[in-house]
Symmetry: C2
């Protein structure tokens, strides 16, 4: 296949142009009322999705999103070489149990809410090198399972602080292949762990913004590009506050991303009155990317996007033991 080259800084270049050839998203009832409601393949009326627990509903959404991705790609599961997935639940049970529904190999990844970009990046690496022809990258989250695992049981009816975000109920994924048509994945920038000492577990945006800024700046440096080269610089779930911070941090480093920065968490809900800073969770960027964003790329509205999802690498145990919240962001460059 003739790999030309390859890597500069923390960025890997894909000379054999792996492509996103299909994508799908399932969203919850609250998400249905927002901008992406009309773009999701399935928008639930009942967030239990016919299951007996929130966790099983989350897993079913993810599994069904994977099925839709394969189906929309005109393929059957026998045609898929590998699936890369992870999620927010302890031991990534949504992804593992979703993978149980399929015959193809499964590589579990964990990068909190940046799982979508990490899994696309790894899938693109595998397709670009010719290891596999067709890989599925997918993730998801569920408001209710996240609340009870990370915060409080919903039944307690706790008041949410103003800096809080709302975990998205939804799942999304895409098919990365060696086809000649489709959205090109041209490069990927691997993220480093950044920790600015934020300890407020309700303020994920502030914890993750430095990681987003670090990866986005690194991408510009490695690729020799600037913000205006992209139609959109898409972060995952920084929310309204985190989005302000990432713009400020970038500005301080000499990059003005204010004109084309969009955050999936900021746009997923119609009004962010009840959700305060907007959406969050692995499903947030998974749903927004794999519905609205990729369809608008295909229709020609966006030609070049830098997708940098962000993840907060905490657990209830780490925070309980007084640790701050490290964060990470992996970025992939998409062109059409």
């Amino acid at each position: 296949m003739g790999i030309k080259q390859v890597k500069k800084g923390n960025t890997v270049f894909f000379n054999n142009t792996p492509r996103i050839t299909s994508y799908a998203a399932i969203c919850g009832s609250k998400e249905k009322t927002g901008v992406i409601g009309a773009f999701a393949d399935v928008a639930l009326d009942d967030d239990m999705y016919g299951e007996s627990t929130y966790e099983k509903a989350e897993c079913k959404m993810l599994s069904d999103a994977i099925s839709l991705v394969i189906e929309k790609g005109g393929l059957k599961q026998q045609d898929i070489d590998v699936m890369l997935s992870g999620d927010l639940l302890n031991q990534i049970i949504s992804a593992s149990f979703a993978a149980r529904d399929y015959l193809f190999p499964f590589l579990g990844v964990y990068s909190a809410c940046s799982t979508m970009s990490e899994s696309i990046m790894l899938a693109a690496m595998m397709v670009n090198a010719g290891y596999v022809k067709r890989a599925v990258a997918a993730t998801g989250s569920h408001f209710a399972s996240a609340e009870r695992q990370y915060r409080y049981p919903l039944e307690l009816g706790c008041t949410r602080p103003p800096q809080a975000q709302w975990t998205v109920t939804g799942a999304g994924g895409c098919l990365i292949t060696d086809a000649k048509e489709g959205i090109r994945i041209t490069s990927a920038t691997m993220g480093r762990v950044c920790d600015y000492g934020v300890t407020d577990v309700n303020n994920m945006g502030a914890a993750m913004a430095p990681a987003a800024a670090d990866t986005i700046m690194q991408h510009f440096i490695d690729t020799g590009t600037s913000p205006t080269d992209y139609d959109m610089i898409l972060t995952g779930d920084l929310g309204a506050l985190g989005s302000r911070i990432v713009k400020d941090l970038s500005w301080e480093k000499g990059y003005d991303i204010s004109k084309n920065h969009v955050d999936c968490g900021e746009i997923i809900y119609k009004v962010i009155e009840n959700e305060f800073q907007g959406g969050s969770g692995a499903g947030c960027s998974a749903v927004v990317l794999n519905s609205y964003v990729l369809s608008k790329m295909q229709s020609g509205l966006y030609k070049r996007i830098l997708f940098a999802a962000t993840g907060a690498l905490l657990s209830t145990v780490s925070s309980g033991q007084g640790e701050s919240i490290p964060a990470i962001s992996h970025a992939v460059e998409l062109e059409y």
Copy 2:
């Protein structure tokens, strides 16, 4: 670099021969008394490792193992392109917080106790394709943090059932590079999720054995090899019972692995009287591989090994909701 080939079935072939050029392991006080005690780089007398919590001790072991790997490779952290790691704690906090100690990019993976082989496989894929030159793959576990997360607080003094295993306190890792010398990684077989319906959370060996058998058989088929082609077929932490099962399952499929099958969990402790079925945990295969096994390869005792670590993909929530225990095994072929 000229990628020749590539893939058959679920196995990826590494024609540019990525190599393991250094490795290191840290083990706990109990593990110190076993066979690998003399081979580990550091054997602790105090499993708290000077930290205030079990989780912090686990994280410190992993971070220190990574440092040792880099140091033994004659390198500094600036020379490392990426680190792939994961662990058993919720949201892989040991790996994430260990990654915070370093400047290089971090890719979080989760495959329960098969994290060691998944991370070596992905690192080898990245090095083989030329994306990176030097990647660290590492994982670990801690008996006390695993007990309180997955089972009961140690203070309760619960009786262990005879099918139980003992989570290894230890961490290990290796450096995968494009060097011309070192242990060759010649192929990797990606595992599928297997679920035979085992629901006993104390019987990990039985849950994981089918996944090990599936991947090992798939490897033989894809590579056209048979058990006798390998000096050792090394599973991760099936324990005594699981090892018997994997041999039986393989026998049923026409492959006799009984002569050269070794399980890290079965050999890590001197006597398995108090540990019943032997060792388990992500640290089990990480420590055994990255101390005893790789050093014996380098000394010429073993020329070709198939390393197939296994992971049980459960959580306390999935088991609490009545789910069975899916499992997975990823395999890498090592030659020297």
